[in-house]
């Protein structure tokens, strides 16, 4: 080591190389970090002027870096399921939502969210039956699994859970309709363009304090955006 003497050119080269390496490292790190963002599923306009949005909620998504977390899958136009919560919708359009709920339920932290709100007619159809208030304490025994809540559009739709001990309970997503589920349908109007955040009000982040960590605080699981364009 002693006595190594570099010429001026060599020193300049080494320094420039160092800077270049640093920038490379930076780009590599940032790119690697960004790669983890969930995809956006676009729901195009249908002929009738309204669109259909089909989603499912699973007790464990089964894919990605956190397979054991609860989360959503959204169906794209070709019928393929994507594990995401980023949904692109056209503006000023009625959206017919079909939600397949495969998760078991629990209680709401705040029972005010048992009211259906912001949907056409103020109701949601749970397995075909119209409901405007679901009773988290007495419902069929399986509690409420999740709520679909878009604050800026005033939407709140609670979803009944299925029995966690059902024979054909879906353990990992994406699930299919041969497994135990509830089907919830409702319609809402998108209004003007904008990015509307949505979340769930059932503390469903299992293993996290208050049930509000993990999937509840990560895009792609129980937190998302409706990108109305």
């Amino acid at each position: 080591m002693k006595g190594v003497r570099l010429s001026k050119g060599a020193r300049a080269g080494a320094l420039l190389f160092g800077f270049a390496a640093l920038i490379g490292l930076l780009i590599f790190g940032v790119a690697g970090y960004l790669r983890t963002s969930p995809p956006t599923v676009s729901v195009g306009a249908s002929s009738s002027g309204s669109v259909n949005l089909v989603m499912q909620t699973d007790g464990a998504v089964g894919v990605g870096p956190h397979p054991s977390w609860v989360g959503y899958f959204v169906q794209d136009a070709s019928g393929a399921w994507h594990q995401t919560t980023l949904i692109q919708l056209p503006q000023n359009t009625d959206v017919h939502v079909t939600l397949y709920e495969y998760d078991s339920g629990g209680n709401l932290r705040n029972s005010v969210w048992s009211q259906v709100a912001g949907t056409t007619g103020g109701v949601a159809y749970i397995n075909g039956a119209a409901e405007s208030v679901v009773n988290p304490n007495t419902n069929t025994g399986n509690g409420i699994a999740h709520t679909f809540n878009v604050p800026a559009l005033g939407i709140n739709v609670p979803m009944y859970g299925v029995s966690g001990s059902a024979k054909n309970f879906c353990n990992t997503g994406p699930c299919n309709t041969s497994q135990a589920h509830n089907t919830i349908t409702f319609t809402f109007h998108t209004g003007g363009a904008g990015t509307y955040r949505w979340q769930c009000f059932v503390p469903c982040g299992l293993g996290y304090l208050e049930g509000n960590g993990g999937p509840m605080q990560s895009l792609g699981y129980m937190a998302g955006f409706l990108k109305v364009v």
Binding site: S111, V112, S114, N135, F201, L206, L209
Partner: protein, 304 residues
């Protein structure tokens, strides 16, 4: 080396005349600046005049801002003048001695006295304006000591949860709403609590800010003086949707408020039945899930 002699420009006399110049310019500019801040900027300062508390805060901000003007100017003028006058010009030897001045008991003494007086004055001022408008709109904790002198209070419970505010109205059958309207010319008592992590209820135009702590009631008062819209924002980091945890409210006339509240009470009757009994705090035990974080066998709140 020949005996060093300090130039005239750095002599004591030069210093004295410099001080006179600085102080006189400073005095004039300060007065103008203070007047501008007080009269021109003052009425537009945050957070407006919608409530007694907001008005008080605006007055305080105006007052402190006015006081800040001469302080800023004094330091600027002093530094600016010194640098301009006593900087080394090209060609000068910058390493020669300057004035041998290692202190000045008069200047130092004056400085200590003035800063101490200013600081103690400000503390007294702040204390007065904290106590007079019933805690100045800040969260006073569970047992407030500065209260409005009336028992005719509208009680509003602010319930923060990840990531929305809801409002409960004990005087209206304990209903819970997602929106908030308030009557004008009314003393309001906010009871702020949280169902999970720490949030903060910041109603900007009302001049109210109070942390929402789990298992704890934080009381804040305000008296509405004018109608209009106000913004509620969560002001304590509470996780992913902290930045989106806001809503808007309105201060309306007393009749409009009565009407709104009675309507809401009817509309919400079926949900109100499902709510827990009104209380100042709500532990998860009674409203459900704990996320399974604590082992079920030791968690007193589990499975309820």
């Amino acid at each position: 080396m020949a005996r060093f002699v300090l130039e005239d420009s750095r002599s004591e006399e030069a210093g004295k005349s410099a001080l006179v110049k600085i102080l006189s310019v400073w005095a004039v500019v300060s007065i103008i600046g203070m007047a501008l801040v007080w009269f021109v900027l003052g009425p537009h300062l945050a957070p407006g005049t919608m409530t007694d508390q907001a008005q008080g805060a605006q007055f305080d901000i105006k007052f402190v801002s006015t006081l800040v003007v001469p302080v800023l100017l004094f330091v600027w003028f002093f530094f600016g003048y010194s640098i301009m006058k006593w900087r080394v010009r090209p060609g000068e030897d910058g390493t020669l001695p300057a004035a041998n001045l290692s202190g000045n008991s008069k200047a130092q003494g004056a400085w200590y006295v003035i800063t101490t007086t200013l600081v103690l004055g400000l503390a007294a001022f702040g204390t007065y304006f904290l106590i007079a408008p019933a805690g100045a709109g800040g969260g006073e904790g569970a047992s407030p000591i500065w209260t409005p002198g009336t028992t005719k209070l509208l009680q509003v419970q602010v319930i923060a949860q990840q990531w929305r505010f809801t409002y409960r109205w004990p005087q209206f059958g304990g209903m819970e709403t997602t929106g908030i309207e308030l009557p004008v010319n009314t003393e309001i008592e906010f009871n702020v609590t949280s169902l999970d992590v720490i949030h903060d209820f910041w109603a900007y135009q009302l001049g109210v800010k109070a942390d929402a702590n789990p298992d704890y009631n934080n009381v804040a008062y305000t008296k509405t003086l004018a109608t209009g819209r106000f913004t509620v924002r969560c002001d304590e980091l509470c996780g992913i949707w902290h930045g989106a945890m806001y809503n808007y409210g309105t201060v309306v006339s007393q009749q409009q408020f009565e009407q709104w509240a009675t309507n809401m009470e009817q509309q919400n009757a079926s949900v109100t039945k499902l709510l827990p009994k009104y209380s100042l705090t709500y532990t998860p035990s009674y409203s459900g899930a704990g996320g399974g974080y604590y082992n079920t066998s030791v968690d007193p709140n589990a499975n309820l």
